[in-house]
Symmetry: D2
Subunit: 301 residues, 4 copies
Amino acid sequence: MKVGFIGLGNMGVGMAANLLKAGHEVTVYNRTASKADPLVKQGAHLASRVADSCFGDVVMTMLSDDQALESVVFGDSGAGSKEDAGILGSLGKGAIHVSLSTISVALSKKLTAAHAERGQRYVSAPVFGRPEAAAAAKLIVIACGADDAVATCMPLFDAMGQKTFRFGTNPADANLVKISGNFLISCVIESLAEAMALIGKAGLDQHQYLDFLTSTLFAAPIYKTYGAIIVDKKFEPAGFAAPLGFKDNRLALAAGQDLQVPLPIASLVYNRFLTLLANGGENLDWSAISRLAAKDAGEGR
Amino acid sequence: MKVGFIGLGNMGVGMAANLLKAGHEVTVYNRTASKADPLVKQGAHLASRVADSCFGDVVMTMLSDDQALESVVFGDSGAGSKEDAGILGSLGKGAIHVSLSTISVALSKKLTAAHAERGQRYVSAPVFGRPEAAAAAKLIVIACGADDAVATCMPLFDAMGQKTFRFGTNPADANLVKISGNFLISCVIESLAEAMALIGKAGLDQHQYLDFLTSTLFAAPIYKTYGAIIVDKKFEPAGFAAPLGFKDNRLALAAGQDLQVPLPIASLVYNRFLTLLANGGENLDWSAISRLAAKDAGEGR
Amino acid sequence: MKVGFIGLGNMGVGMAANLLKAGHEVTVYNRTASKADPLVKQGAHLASRVADSCFGDVVMTMLSDDQALESVVFGDSGAGSKEDAGILGSLGKGAIHVSLSTISVALSKKLTAAHAERGQRYVSAPVFGRPEAAAAAKLIVIACGADDAVATCMPLFDAMGQKTFRFGTNPADANLVKISGNFLISCVIESLAEAMALIGKAGLDQHQYLDFLTSTLFAAPIYKTYGAIIVDKKFEPAGFAAPLGFKDNRLALAAGQDLQVPLPIASLVYNRFLTLLANGGENLDWSAISRLAAKDAGEGR
Amino acid sequence: MKVGFIGLGNMGVGMAANLLKAGHEVTVYNRTASKADPLVKQGAHLASRVADSCFGDVVMTMLSDDQALESVVFGDSGAGSKEDAGILGSLGKGAIHVSLSTISVALSKKLTAAHAERGQRYVSAPVFGRPEAAAAAKLIVIACGADDAVATCMPLFDAMGQKTFRFGTNPADANLVKISGNFLISCVIESLAEAMALIGKAGLDQHQYLDFLTSTLFAAPIYKTYGAIIVDKKFEPAGFAAPLGFKDNRLALAAGQDLQVPLPIASLVYNRFLTLLANGGENLDWSAISRLAAKDAGEGR
């Protein structure tokens, strides 16, 4: 398939590479073009503006937040050229925009309407997994959209991920699943942080405790991944930086606000992120909020 | 082995039965003697007072809280007979008291000292698992105590559980592992409750969402068990009743207070339990605190 | 002075009336023109569009939120006429826009810049007080802006309030004072709610308890006003409706987010508002969040 | 009147002095006898054991916590003499024990029953005010007990305080009023801490902001007293030390637990105290929990 791919950050670069490996013809665009170099060596075409990545069957976007995606879709892409009309103004009738980013439910609804008005199709397909999983094609994809559109995209999802879950035809639902999933991960981080602060201050071995947890009741990938990071305090380099984690926390709170659903743990985690960022943690992995429970308990004073 | 077993509640009755099945000679004691009937049919001896269950190599206790265990150990067992000196006054020198109950770190320290003074041995071995797991010999045992004492008890643990974890020789450490483990479970319940309130109010299918979670990032037994109870609202009959869950929550807070470790999610869950109990939930499973997130979101009004 | 006054809600109608009483020439504008009737009887001129209230020395705005103020300032006023350029396009050079509304720090900064660019002056002067205080000219005014501009407006503030406090020349600072003041009021409401739930469930007389509090350590207007509402459960008619209280709570959280200052009580109150609104409280006074502490404690079940 | 006075801490020493000034015959007892020296110079008798302070019409106790009061009442007073039977074993029939301490509702109920059984009378009369107020006879007294007993004590309360409030004849009610009052003070401290963190980080003058608050909506003694301490960071010497503030916070939580009333702000303050104590704050005034909001916001890093 002819695929455009916009957004070559930590995650996007691995995802685009896997599309190439699967034999698709990929045209990449990134605001900082140099990020595309390794992909070009692997056979990707380089678009110098958003519009030039939108001529195929599908264009995929993997951007950091609502604002970045809006500017690329609606045309204020920062590319500097007046004639860059954004995805909305460039994509052909019937072609598909696949949004892989973790964005708000509200923006997903707005994009659904905007693309429909232009006769374009919109699939929301946010992914779970850190950069290692993106590189290894081990992502989990949540895909929502019209059945035919999602079916068309399945080979692309298969190239990037280990499994694709579908939650119906309403694109914004995929975003809510992603947002609430990240909320649950943040709960795991905070709860492990508190338990480890207790176990650690009592003098027990945190690694042994983690081994116990993850070989029994909490034998889930997410406890293994984050448990190890938390116990080893490996917050650099950041697989998923604190400002992005904070953004996702706010997306959960925003979804809760729109639906009038209080999320007290999300509020607690919100304050953890503010504390982390106010104290110099902007370059750390988002799981560095786990340090705050330990510091409150007097560790390292 | 000759084993005494004190405390035939939801959990204890299954555990004692598995000791019998494994061929041990078991003498059971329960305040309400009729609870022992099925075990007697399976070959158990029935003790009419605490002391009469303490003549063997090991006496095991599986009671609901600190107070119940203290009265059985120190002799105010409610059996009404003056001559009942409790475990402490009845157990032979070198014999082992295995405490399986979820009790406070503080009481475990007190028992360690009290038994040592009498030349008795004390092993702390709290278990993870609900009544079904107790009946099926699928419990997870956390055992702490002197190496020789724990080694002596291993056949008993093997008869009751699927795996035994050891965390050193300090009995109270096993209790902290158990308490913090239950704290982590309560975090899973509360976080799933909040996520499900969001997903449900948005109109997505909660079962499908749970399937997704538990087949990917959250593929752990605890998410499967409690996720199903929460989504199906199956809080009766209570596998682990709300007042017991509240007790364990307070044990976590007490451990945090003693060690000066703030546990904000435990505080949040504390208020959930108070709300549940103040509104008539004392006979429900502890996971019924999950209804509160849904009610706050307006469900059922 | 010739004064325009835009926004004739619960608060604005009393404030404009007091300007008239003090002898100022007042031209009022309101989206729903009928609200102006009583003021016209008292001598006010009626403007049929925003621009027609902007010809004097000063135009004052008293609107419900950021969005309402932005539409009036920037010209999408809902008045339906293309030629309505908003305050920004209508106000004369050197004339003053006095914003009395409780708006965000961010919008106040934006207005400061926008008016400066046009050679207009901007004073931020949010007020404390409920509709009764507005009618009785007992408001407390927080005024920030250039010294000469604030000095020009002092007769207007004196006509509307009992006292004007100045916090320097940066308009947005007045908004932060207002927002943090309302945050402190929300803390009083929530803390009284919790204390009253305790006192009430214990069977003590809540009125007597309130009398004690407000005649000693808590002898402040805010405890008297809200204490009485809470104890008497007088949430209708709403002096300050729950959606507006929620808006102010979010303004505090937004200010905290911008400045990276966690505000845990504001987070708690945020969830109270969500719960109140999700359960049908949108027409109640914002202090009705106090019912939630009582309900959690089992009152009325 | 002949009055015994037990407990010469920061508060008790001023209270006993005011009884002397009012002409009462006062016999003082304190575990560390040297604390009594200044009072002896002012005319007090010195008792060398608890019993020797219990021969008059009234014995007053002003101790730090439940445990200290229990040991003095029930006879394990630490005085070292076997014959010291405590207040309960020493006080005459019809004589009155006035408990001025901030103790639990549960202990107050226990003392009510124990004294009644001995034919003694019990009045619960906890006080509001810091050591300066105790020295200046400006305390506020909450008195509950049988009408005649309270009437007998009124001259004593008048000598120590500015005003006495009565809440009926059930002694434990006075303790709940005191406990909930201190809870409300802790809410003032925490809310001011959060507001000041915001105001301070924005660069506004905290003193000016406090002046505004306390001259308008928050014109209450408690805001003035604690506002000044918080803004000036004057936490030493401690007028009311953090461990005592923490004790009172736990008394509020305990009362809430007994009555099944969730108190979320008390839970938040609980974690603040744990954090303060875990980080070396045990000698600071309890209002030093206000530093934590500022530190979370990055102050001083």
